[in-house]
Symmetry: C2
Subunit: 325 residues, 2 copies
DNA sequence: GACCGACCTGCAAACGATTGCGTTAAGGTG
DNA sequence: CACCTTAACGCAATCGTTTGCAGGTCGGTC
């Protein structure tokens, strides 16, 4: 049926072990023999059987990537970079999404565990305890979730949130809302904590919310009632939904209320008004996570974020002239 | 190290073959024995080794999904649905993107071929000949590319393009542009052909273009010079880029020029002006493609598209009153 | 000229599951 | 009671690689 190491051995007149070595330990085989074997392999179109290889070696050269929601524009750039990084080192990438469901998340980890060398877990919703237990079965690196003792790559959302709030303060806003993310979200908690520590700002927290456009729309009435002039949303999707919901309620952005998103996703970038947002290095995170996994290093990496000021923020009406000078 | 079928056999006092059968052919083993084996497996936390299984059986229970560009918002819903469909049948999904590069596309197919039971190839850029040759090495299903003899799932873009153009005609437009996609794109060719057959419409084709926002921006000057009042763009990203580019040139959408996109992606949905676009059943396509692959059926499936009229289209200035009645 | 590395290469036992075949026991039929 | 069928299970070969071990050859050194 398919061409095996044995066929190549026969064709080049050597033993199978020599063929094996020309691929996995070339320095152990004579240069001349090696070229002969490679020629035969080429001619027969031989391709090693990864199942057999991993059965013997215990390594699969596969890695798994689990995200909360593939359709959330935050993830595709991360996945793309992760895939490219994996491929560069001859690894293949399994991808799956949990639909924000912790149970499914655990099932996926378990399902992957016997078939990958490691897992990149993005924005996990499982408890610390559950994650620590799982880490005994399979090695993984966490993205945007920090747990002592586990390898992590996190983005500095706290700093991003501070920058966003400072931007609002500079524009003259004093009373602002934080439209938070889902309950189990580490980043949402980080943002919340960071924001609460900012002095001179009257902050009302609205949430938890679904991290989607619908979440933003649903939060709009509560934002409108809160009497705020500025909003930091959990992500771009929520920000956009919020803007849409506010529009329906007759509230103008950025005229009446300024809105800042999170992620700097393509959807936010192309939205009108152009979204002021906190840029997240999703691609860097994806790449680093798989590199750490493949080198099987343990580390706690922090990636910088930065504020991108565009058009969804402006001075509040009452102090408009101050910001317009 | 890890718990194998042998451990389970020992723990439950039966032969390994019986354990194997309780998992892969339960009806061949006595009910009582089966529960005993299952209990032991559960207690030992046994999980079958897929490498060993696929080595013996020749099947991997993996499938590969290759797309042109993971960051293009058209694909994530397709990937999400494909992954869900695969998972429902205990398959896992490899994902990779080619960056629109035919060479990388072929490399990926080859790299996957020994490790999957089949490949879903979305919007392939390879030649018919190359694809036919590859199909001898590994079975695949093509999405949005029709080739006789190969299993395909295509969306009826021709009909979508006709509906879009008819919409423009009804609004009073007579001279329109088609901002085409990349050179190797089957859908772009289909759209072009369909549009050329529409009577009573003066169509200028602009392209090929990169299927991205940048592609749209780059095409804007040529659209402005073409003296058209309506545009059908290759996809939402191009449409949005085009709108942005036109805006810079002082051309208003939809006031001066109407623009229609393709895909109905999230990015287009959230854009302002709300994008009139041809909705593509990406999720359906992803699901069907993996289902066809798993059932290893060959078929040529056509999925319907439909026009979604929103706010990026309006009557042309010169006959505005006609459309406004 | 005996001995010693350094290099290559062959041998064969694994890795963990699947599966055709053979054996045994139980039950049914005439 | 002899015979046959069926159900349940054990036996052992096998899938394609990897890798520790054991030669074998060759050139160089004392």
């Amino acid at each position: 049926m398919s061409v095996t190491i044995r066929d190549v051995a026969q064709a080049s007149g050597v033993h199978v072990s020599t063929v094996s070595r020309t691929f996995s330990a070339p320095h152990l085989v004579n240069a001349e023999t090696r070229t002969r074997v490679l020629a035969a392999a080429e001619q027969l179109d031989y391709r090693p059987n990864r199942a057999a290889r991993s059965l013997k070696t215990g390594r699969t050269n596969n890695i798994g990537l689990i995200v909360a929601d593939l359709a959330n524009p935050f993830f595709p750039p991360l996945i793309k970079a992760a895939q490219a990084a994996a491929r560069r080192q001859d690894y293949h990438l399994f991808v799956a999404d949990t639909g924000e469901d912790p149970v499914e998340e655990e099932n996926l980890v378990l399902a992957f565990s016997k078939q990958v060398d490691g897992i990149v877990l993005c924005s996990p919703r499982l408890s610390n305890k559950a994650l620590e237990k799982l880490s005994e079965q399979v090695s993984f690196v966490l993205v945007n979730r920090r747990i002592r003792g586990l390898t992590t790559v996190v983005m500095d959302v706290a700093n991003g949130a501070r920058a966003a709030m400072e931007h609002l303060v500079e524009l003259g806003h004093r009373r602002v809302a934080l439209v938070a993310g889902p309950a189990g979200s580490w980043t949402s908690a980080e943002i919340r904590k960071a924001v609460s520590e900012i002095p001179g700002l009257d902050t009302v927290v609205i949430g938890p919310n679904s991290p989607t456009e619908e979440g933003g729309i649903a939060a709009a009435p509560r934002v409108a009632e809160a009497g705020v002039t500025g909003v930091l949303a959990y992500n771009d999707l929520v920000a956009i939904g919020l803007i849409e919901g506010l529009e329906v309620l007759g509230v103008d952005v950025p005229g009446d209320v300024s809105v800042i998103g999170f992620d700097d996703s393509i959807t936010g970038r192309l939205h009108r008004p152009k979204l002021t947002t906190v840029a997240m290095p999703a691609g860097d995170a994806g790449r680093m996570a798989v590199d750490l996994l493949i080198q099987s290093m343990s580390a706690a990496t922090v990636l910088e974020t930065h504020l991108v000021v565009r058009e969804s923020t402006a001075p509040p009406r009452t102090s408009g002239d101050r910001g317009a000078t």
